[in-house]
Every structure is written in C-alpha cells, then in structure tokens.
C-alpha cells in the first residue's frame, strides 16, 4: 500500500504492508527520522508527539493510513539553529533538558498551545503540559521556557 506523507514540508511516499502501522514507525523506520521517539506505545507519555495538520498528536497511536496527505511536522521541522522556533530558543535559554529523550512531547505540545493561545496563563500552560512525562524532572524549567517563549513571541 502506497501512502503519501508531507513531512516537514517535503513530500514522501512510503510503501507499507500494514495500514494500521503507527505513524511513529513510518517516521522512524521508513523515513529514518530520529524524532519522534518511542516512549510507551500507549499514548500515555508523549515522547512520540508530532504535529499533524497543526495538531499535536501521539504518533504511536495514529495509524499511518490516517496521516496520508496530512502535513506532518516533527521537532526537526519546527525550527533550525538558523531559524529556531521561539520555544527552541527558550529551551536553550533556560537550559531545560537533561537527557532530552522526552523533548518532542514538551516542545511540540507547547508549540500547539502557543499557536492557538499566544499568551497563555501559567495555569493554562500547566494544564496543557500536565499529561507529559519527564523522568529527569525538567518540568519547572519547561514551564519557565514556555513562559519565556510566550513573552518573546
């Protein structure tokens, strides 16, 4: 089965034998993208978060066939060192991460929030980021970084 994907602004065609394969494996295995990452496969943690048509989704739970034709953005497509997304700038300013295995979930979820609500309150940021797991304990730093990005935008 042929599936057309638009990933980070680039048209891609992949051949899959299982339309129910999660988008995560199409991105990692077929397109060899190093993000998103596998965290739980259960939609509980967010390590696999990408944007599909601007919505932050858990790619471990999204069948690849359902993403056909959609615009997919991964962390690498959000910004580059030359043209960083304000959240990426803020993440470096606040030196948020430790291992950063979970970084997709935080930045991609926060990016969706800021796209719809450029000046979120602290409570709104906490609400949006509450479902995310980070075992290094970077939550407080991530909160500060989202506030910083919201102020700079």
């Amino acid at each position: 089965m042929r599936i057309e994907l638009d990933v980070n602004g680039k048209a891609q065609v992949i051949e899959v034998d299982d339309p129910d394969m999660p988008l995560l494996y199409a991105l990692r295995d077929d397109l060899q993208l190093n993000n998103p990452r596998f965290g739980c496969g259960l939609g509980q943690c967010g390590a696999c978060t990408v944007h599909v048509d601007g919505r932050a989704v858990r790619s471990c739970m999204t069948p690849v066939a359902a993403a056909g034709g959609a615009q997919i953005t991964t962390l690498a497509g959000l910004g580059t060192p030359e043209r960083p997304h304000p959240l990426q700038t803020a993440w470096i300013e606040e030196q948020v991460n430790q291992c950063a295995y979970c970084i997709n979930r935080w930045i991609m979820t926060a990016a969706e929030l800021l796209a719809h609500n450029p000046r979120p309150s602290e409570a709104e940021i906490k609400e949006a980021l509450d479902p995310l797991i980070c075992r290094c304990g970077t939550h407080g730093a991530a909160l500060r970084a989202v506030k910083r990005a919201a102020q700079s935008a």
Binding site: M21, N34, Q44, A76, Q95, A100, Y101, I107, I133
Partner: protein
Amino acid sequence: MSSNQTLSRRAFLAASGALVVTLTGPESAHPAQNGAATRPPLAGDQLSSYLSIEPDGTVIAYYGKIDGGQGLGTSIAQMVAEEIDVPLEKVRVVMGDSGLTLDMGGASAAIGVSHGGMVLRRTAAQARQLLIELAAQALGRPADELTVTDGVVHATGSSTRGISYGELIGGRYFEQKVKWNGKTSNALGVETTVPLKMPGRFKVIGQSPRRRDLPGKVFATLELVNDLRLPGMLHARMIRPQIAGAVPVAVDESSIANIPDARAVWIKDLLAVVAEKEWNAVKAARALQVSWSQSTPNFPGSDGLHAHIRNAPVVKRFIQRENGSVEEGFAQAARIIEGEYEFPTQSHASTGPACAVADVRDDAATIWTSSQKPYDAAACVAELTGLQREKVRAIWMFGTGSYGRNDQGDATADAAVLSKHLRVPVRVQYMRHEGIAWDPKGTASVSRNRAGIDASGKVIAYESIGKAFSRLDVSTREGRAADVLAGHLLGFPLKPDQSFEIPVASYTFDHGRLGWETVPPLMERASPLRTTHLRDPYGPPILFGSESFIDEMAAATNTDPVAFRLQYLKNPRDRDAVKTAAEHYGWDKRSSPRKGRGDEIAIGRGIAFRRHFDTFIALIAEVRVHRATGRIEVARYVCAHDVGLIVNPETLRHVIDRQLVYGTSRAMLEEVRFDHEKVTSVDWVTYPVLHMKAVPERIDIVLIDRPEAAPSGAAEMALGLCPAAIGNAVFDATGVRLRRVPFTPERVKAALERV
C-alpha cells in the same frame, strides 16, 4: 601524518616567523617531530590515553565516563580547558568508547567531576608543562621564562613570537608517562608533580558556559543510540512471561507466520522475535503464542512487603558504625522513643525503555549502548558471547536518562546474544512494560530507629538499623552474565552481593549504632524484582528513616528541628549547610508541630540533612496538606548545597533543581506494585510519577562555594532528602508522622484520620 600535512606545517611555520627558531634549534626539537605519529595503545600510564592535540590546536580529552544528561561533558571540558590553558571551545570531550578512552568506570556514584574530571585535570596540567618544555626547545628559551595564553606558549610578559600547541604537537601524540595508580574503573587515579592552578587564577572553572549537548537535542540533530541504523540490522523485541519465573516450553511459530520477515529466536530460556521492520517485530511480539512452564513465585505482594521484610530471616547483619556502649546508653535513659519507616520498591522507569545495538562477529563484537557502564557492559557481553574482553568494543551514545543501573545493560546483553545467534546486527528496544516491570529495582526497606533520652532531655543513645533486600542482587556494574536477564535465562549462576547502607552525618550521641540487615531475595533467577542501584542508592530509603527519626527526637525533646541538628552535628561543613538553609528560608525557631493545626489546609516546614562523600546538603520543604483529600503540595524547597569547588554554577543549579523534582516524584508517588506472581506496575497509569501540576512551586538553591576544597559530586545527593523533608513538614503542619513512602493522598488521609 601524511607528508603533505608535514609540508604544510613547515610552510606555516615559515610564514609565521617560527622558521628561524626551527632552523637554529636542536634537530630533536623540530616541532613536527614531537610526539608519536600514531596513538600509542590505551594504557593508564600513557599521557596520550588522556589527551591529544589536533593540528588546529583543539585539545581532545578522552573521558572514560559518560554524560547521563546532566551536562557533565561541558564541565569536563571546562576543567581541561582551565588546566591546559586553551579557550573552552578548543576542547572536545570523547566519552565512554572502550576503543578510545580508558575505563574510568562510566557514570557511577556522581563522581564524574571529583574522580574522572580530576584525573583529566591533572593530566592536563602535566600536558601543559610538557608543551612548555617542548616550546622552550623550539623557542630556545628557558621553560621558566615561558607561559601559555589560549594554547600559545610565549615569553612571559610578551605575547609575540609564541608557538601554538598545534604547531608543537598537533596531529601527533604525546609520548610521556603519567604516574598512574595502576587501577581502573572508578578507582583509576593519576598523580602529577605539576601544581594545579589556584582558584584565584581560574578563568573557565567557576563560569557557566551553556551545555554543549543541548542544541543537538533541541533541534533534533543529536543521534541517540535509539537512532543507530546499521546495514542488515534486525529489530528485536523480547518476550517476557506473564508469571515471573516461568520459562518457555513450546513456541508456536505459525502464530507469526503472516507477519513479514518475522521469526522467533529461542535460546535456552531466552525468547525473542526479530524482523526487518520494527513494527513487524512489535506485532510479532504481541502475536507469538508461547506455552510457559508452571511457576509459583509466592511473592508477598506489595501490600504485604514490609511485613515480609520484618519477618524474613537475616542473611547478613552489619554494624557499620558504633560508638560508646549502646546497651549501657539505653539502660541509663530516662525514656526511650522508637520509630519505624517503610520505603517501597521503586523502578528506574526511564523515559525511554532501554535500547541497544550489537554487532557480534566470530572474532570480535561492537556494542552501542547508553548504559551508564559501557566498559562493564562490554565485559558482560564478552562472557555471554565467549569472546575475549578486549575483542568487545563498547561505544556509549546518548540515550534515555537512566537514573542508576536501569535496564540498558539488560538490553545490551540481549542484543549481543541475539546478534551472535543470528549473525547480523541486532537492535533491541524494550517495550514500556519492560521498562517498569522488568528493570532491576531499587530495594524496599524497613528502617528501625530508637533513641534514649536522659532526664535533662539530652539524647544519649541512638540506634538506626535498616532491614532490606540487598541493594545488589545484580551488580550495579552489570559486568557479568550473572548481572543481566539474558545471563539468568541462559543459565549463568547468580552472584549476588549482600549490601545496604547507613546514613552519614556527624551527629554525635554518647552511644550510637548504625547498621543494616539484608533479607533473601523474593526470587533468585530472572526476577522482575531483582535489586540494584536506583539513583542515590544510599539515599531515599535510608534517609527517610534516619532524618525523620532525628525529627522525632527533636519533637520528643521539644527542640526546634534546626537547633536540634546543630546541637548534635559537629562537622563545620555539616553545620554550615543546615544554618545556610535555615537562614535563607527564614526559619523561625520553635518546636514541631506548629500550633493551630486545625486548618482545612495545614501549612508546615521540615528540614532534612545529609552528607554524601564530601557533599553537604540541607533541604527545607514547605508543604500544604489538604486534610479533606490527603493531598500534599510542595510550596517551596530551600536547598543549601556544598559540593566543594564548583566547576559550573548554572549547570549545578539545574542538576539540583531537576533532581529535587525527581526526588519529589519518588517521595509522593512512586511504588512498584506486585501481586503474588507478577509485577502489576507496567505503565504510567500503574506506576504514577510526578506531573506538571504537582511540581514544587518554588525551588531556592543556595550554593556554598568552597573553591579551596576538592570538588565532590552533585548528580544525586539532594534528591535523597525529599521524603524526610516533606514528611517532617507534614508533621510540623499536622502533628502526624508519615511512616510510609510514597505519600499518596489515600495514605496521608488515612494517617490523618488515625489521630
């Protein structure tokens, strides 16, 4: 080095005005002939095994430890840059590659700076001296008239007519011995007669350059071990039994026949599926039909665990510290108080379940791992594959944070066993349930404490005994087949060690006894509850008991908890940490619990103190306790932190800030649940961890800088104080003593209602 490069070097020397020097100097001092053309074999007594210089003057530091995500790589670069006198950006750190770096023990015990960092700092000082001597020959001036600025050796007081490190030896390798102590791993040490820089001259140490690893992480350009893709590589998933201890007795391969390229691999009791595409391996792991042997683990269940520990026979009892005569002290006491504290089994529960890649050939193997202990992982793989140790190259890569000896050593071993069997490179990625239910665990414990108080209110006798599973069913070094699940399943005999720990502080009571007892493991072989080091292995279980009980003594003697600690702590650095935290918090002197505790939301403050190696930490927690629900909120932490010399203050603050969030998670939420036959904590619902809304609202970190003192460690020492600091604050707020971690709302509510 090629002749072209040699020629271009000579041309450069001529152009730079150094040609006169090279012509008039002794032939042996010709810069291009300094050093060896090829890197001498790795050896502890060779300077080239620690440092080398590139043609452009870049200093490469070979660091036999790893950066688990706390910015260690940047701090190590600072230490080397400082001592060898080059700008920070001219230092590159190579970490954890057994083909390039000596075994300095990997990540272990938060000694990345104090041990491995100091080794490289000393060798950098020696290298700087050597480079000055080489320059003295090249420049025809006495060495004591020369100095170094930014990697250029020049006459003191004059920055002209210098010669750079790159010119002196760039692209070649040091041929000098260092005074090595003959040891490897954490114990590897180097001495040098060259004096280290005095703190007053520091230019790089003590500054806060940003982490070098973060841009690659933020822009998703840094390759993790998970991202490694080798030609012909197969994806593997391991098959674990539903009931602990069961092993496969029949495997129905037809159950996965419809999944392209998928097949089962069954070696003795080890069972896996492999496929060319990762998703097909996942599907095959779900679909594979397996008949398992009967197994009756008879686990006590997590609810019955502490009764089990209390009643279990003692395998080893060890009194680690004793002074006076404890029995006599208790006999003299006017009254005796007692307190017991229970700590649960906890999982590393890494953000990413373990992942590793192995390529095992007939005569050699390479493993790519984010294990904290790549050298030991290589030794384990050698034993499992029958290869000689030196034929296994371990290459450490960034990966998920591990928080101690997590499941990454197990995954590395699995990948190697499968690769040897299949004769192709194999990538193993564990699934979520393996990352929580099957990682080696942090041990549960019961802490028994008692104190004898004389008629004047002085504590004269104190005893604290921890009873627990050994913290080392499998070694934290994971260097033997016996230390990994694959070894257990392939029949390698177990080699458990008996060990727990005692709290460390300079509390002095006239009669004291600190010790521990271990109990037998719940299951010997391939147990999902096997124990090993979980981040700060000496901390949370032990300090929850000891520092809560110190608070009980203070309350029993109507003494302010800070004043009580200062009354019995003798070491000045211990005392400074406690005093600094109290001053910064604005601690008002009074005994706990506070008066007027009837509020619906009760507010309290608590302190806990520890020394770990030469790190001295006092943590104050301020909490709000919601009586109706039992919910605890951490409103504020104040952490006074004395690590000796501080290499990078901002990175240190981040390390402490992040670990206090992590430590709060372990205090408030984390407990591995299990029934009589299996672990039932398998995901983020059944193993809850801290989320954004429950994060401490304010964290104040007060760094006590002691540039004259050797640097100690910081990567895990503060988190161990979280349970006791929170528990003591809850007591201050409510008068109710929490005796069981984690402090779930149900448990707190029940404790409040018991009063």
